[in-house]
Symmetry: D2
Subunit: 342 residues, 4 copies
């Protein structure tokens, strides 16, 4: 197919490249001319404006937006007046699904299809393929199936799921029409919420292993600090890169995120290249909001999100409140921080 | 009664003073001679050694230990050989209750009584009285009741509990024989676990109020950070000292800890005198251990404890693990910390 | 003052009564005529319709709404057309503060003042007074000060906060103008979020105490269940009513919620009259939403909220997912539930 | 090698079978004669007593124990008197690592080696191989390396970790000597702690997806329940089996546990075959204990553990405490449980 791609950042560029490798013609645009040139050098048709992009595409057009969630409304305000009934606009970024519902309704009034595609896979997706979670009307999704097939990983080397009838749908090829407008981003949102939880689980476990030598540190005896009762139980110097490595083979917790962790630890065993300020990009927050709206407990996913907030110093005032209370009732004075060994 | 008091720190000194005000004779000892002198100036009989303290007390002796939990075994090793059958040793500090069980059995073999007393009230206890949670055998507890009556607050200005028969026990006087050896410290342990949870609840709430102005800060638009969707909803400059103050009158969350918080905020509205490294002193940890042994969920008490660990930088490596994973799968680079406004 | 009161449920009726005791004239209305009659018997002017209520009040009118948050918009749709410029509408219920902002703007266009008042104190407020957290413009709040003074507890028997200049504001009388529109309900929202956390802290602690006898239960030895390692440490039969009672005197965790807990336990030591399905009414959820919008960690408040969701069976499917996984990887079969002793 | 295997449950039988397939001679024993016969039919040398097992093995002997953690001490009490200096006892079950340290010291006094092996892989390990985390002295581990090589998966189809030098250790073959006595079970303990967290992350996410249709349910308007503000946002009927399936291809959260989840959902989309009482078997608890001893936050792993406790009704009394409080301050009466749709 001939497809317009707007937004050529890390993800957009990778997806364009994979589409071209799969035989699709890509007409591309980005605010930054140099990334357009880079893709053009790989075979894409670069354009200097949205206007030019739109006129270059045959009708009905297929336009894939791959821009930050916060930039979608501004982009649509500029783009939509250039489009015609029958065109399809795909939002492949990380939009909040209520925005999909709102935008789809607005576009539908103009006869334009809106398709939301939650896209997972990161920078590795160029080679591995991207996992696609799709929301929208059947016709549009059907029209786009060649694109989805190319972007998705296919069955790959994942073993068939026992008990599942092969060919009963596209999920085992790595793309799925999840439901009406917003369903794709809803599923992707929850996917990322889970991702936060899984990442935090590994992180907490590795932190516990890292401190398994704490019995070697001297303990003080005062009323403020309870000394470790059994220092003899914490005398281990754990080799975290090798532990992550061994878990990749046959253990219950093998996963792609563990593969990545092993790689990161192999390259930098103490992870000294990181400060530990963990970003979060919206989906994790919206997942909690959905859980609360649904009155469904999500303690693990919430704890993972809060750990990210905390890693950026956002608990600071709450901590000071507690130190202030302790000073009030017990005359306790704060002690200098016990620096974590690095 | 004539009572020996060993350990004249913040708590020990206050309790000795309250006992003397209540008409008891106190024979005191501490590693630091100057604190012995200070109490002697208030009427106590100061002693220069454990030996002197023991010989100064009439048999059967009553000895109240008020030392850090980590120092009790060493103290008993020195003290017990000086004692006789019929003596009572009271551990009024924050010992771990399994230690009580162990020590009580060892002392019992010598005919010496062990009584564990969890003591709450902090430095304010001198005037308010101390809440006493007591474990041990009936005879010893009975013998000590004059001491408990003096140390405890009495009914004070707490209203009688509707539905409770007055005079049905000493709990409404602020002291309670909770059960056999260890029961006092067990109840005190859980008391402190609850205390951590309550403190954290206020702290989190005040932190949310403090950031109610965050819509005034500029938001960036990139794929790493989701901008606040509705900045207009976060335009409040909350007066935390006055909010804590108003909650003290008639609200559901009125409490002594809130009183203290209001006092701390009145003195230092931004709590700039604190760094936010919150100590923890054992009971909070043991409470979680008990919950886990009992297979009882304690998510709130655990979260409160972990917030203290996190305030001291102990999540650092876990945070770096997550930043490393994000770099692996998304090429994400850490952003400079968003500094919390102080 | 002459004040119209709409909504005479538990809270509305108590507040009306307290206002009348304080010398105010109350014109009242409710969907249910019998509650109107009940208040009329106490001296209120009962009305049969909003129309009648409005015409009975002198201009500029003062109308206090005390209805469920979900019913406010419908009520305003009916009420506002009957009002005139200069009137004040007070929302004293548990509205979500963004609704206040929206409604205040709509009313402002008509010259009508909107004041949001978060009201805490429960059914006890009739005698204790109500803690009032207020948002709105200065003029309206000023006009209403006689009403606030009557409803609020006044200084009561709460000791003055050390370091706070008496007379520096109304907070020490139990009412506070917290800021512009929505500020009152924002502060009340966070108040309730804290309340959830504090309640859960006590509840978890008491649950741990209740299971302190679990060492008496026989333990099985199989690969599914780890037996308690040290049954001797869990042999306590704790007297929860008396423990709650003793904590009310001099302990660090004394609070009004603890007073209530002691009363509930005195009346029903096993709390057998309750099933343990804990409701939540909005503010706790919105507090978490605010925390997440502000990127502020709220692990304790969230855990408390989720415990309520879980108490109503809302984790059911998540639990089944985990049992299904265990069956897949380990062939584990679920065991019959270990019934908590009641 | 010739190896004695004691304990032929699910895991022990699979491991014995895999060892025999790998050319090792297995002498086996179990309390249940029929499982001994079953393994004998596959080529093992069955024995009727520990005595017979020991005498059948050549010196120095290699004995692999695969029994529940709670049964190890009793087994050793019977077994050790039959052994000789130079023998190796391997504990391949889920023992608590402090027990390893204690037992290893006791055996060392007799010249007997103790090796602790955390074994992961579940029933699938027979074909996939078992991930082995090993603690003990170098000599013994070295002697056992042929056994470990057979049991472990080998490199399998896991891609090499970028940046790791191949051949730099056995971790990429699926077995690792983690450190001195207890190190193997320590690493396995943390592995299982992580496992609990990862499982709960998926479970919570799938639960949120399952309730994405809740906007279709009617909402009530009362003061006890906040109705869903935007029912239109929760109208999705999510196909959980297909969503789990699509996530297996190219997504960030692909994992073996997800593979198992997809299989379970394919077989039983509503998981109606499960009640949702999730067992826990020790390691998850001990992981939290280690975190607390180390003062390392583990909010995700704890939340996962508590969810299991809660699934078995262990929060019941805490829930009733909260309902009792609500009744006290607000006169709130519990509402019938909102049944989760099944």
């Amino acid at each position: 197919m001939k497809i317009g791609m707007i937004g050529l950042g890390r993800m957009g560029a990778s997806m364009t490249t994979r589409l071209m490798r799969g035989g699709h013609d890509c007409v591309v645009h980005d605010q930054h001319p140099q990334v357009v040139e880079r893709l053009a050098a790989l075979g894409a048709i670069g354009t200097a404006s949205l206007q030019q992009l739109v006129t270059t595409l045959p009708q009905p057009r297929t336009l894939w937006l791959m821009v930050p969630a916060a930039g979608v409304d501004a982009l649509l305000a500029e783009l939509v007046p250039l489009l015609d009934a029958g065109d399809i606009v795909i939002d492949g970024g990380n939009s909040y699904y209520p925005d999909d519902i709102r935008r789809a309704a607005a576009l539908q009034a103009l006869g334009i299809h809106h398709v939301d595609v939650g896209t997972s896979g990161g920078v590795a997706g160029l080679e591995r393929g991207f996992c696609l979670m799709i929301g929208g009307d059947d016709d549009a999704v059907q029209r786009l199936s060649p694109v989805f097939k190319t972007l998705a990983p296919g069955a790959g080397n994942a073993t068939p799921t026992p008990g599942r009838k092969p060919g009963s749908g596209s999920a085992d090829q790595g793309w799925l029409h999840c439901g009406p407008h917003g369903a794709g981003h809803f599923v992707k949102m929850v996917h990322n919420g889970i991702e936060y939880g899984v990442m935090a689980a590994y992180a907490e476990g590795l932190n516990i292993l890292r401190h398994a030598n704490m019995g070697k540190h001297a303990a003080e005896v005062d009323a403020e600090t309870t000394p470790l009762r059994a220092p003899a139980l914490y005398q281990y110097e754990m080799d975290l890169p090798e532990i992550a490595e061994v878990w990749r083979r046959g253990s219950v917790i093998g996963s792609w995120l563990l593969d990545l962790t092993a790689a990161a630890l192999a390259a930098d065993p103490g992870l000294d290249g990181f400060e530990g300020r963990v970003s979060d990009s919206g989906e994790g927050r919206w997942t909690i909001q959905a859980a609360i709206d649904e009155a469904v407990p999500a303690p693990v996913l919430s704890a993972a999100l809060y750990a990210r907030f905390g890693s950026r110093g956002q608990a600071d005032f709450a901590d000071r409140v507690q130190s202030a209370m302790r000073h009030e009732f017990g005359g306790h004075v704060e002690k200098p921080a016990h620096k974590a060994p690095r």
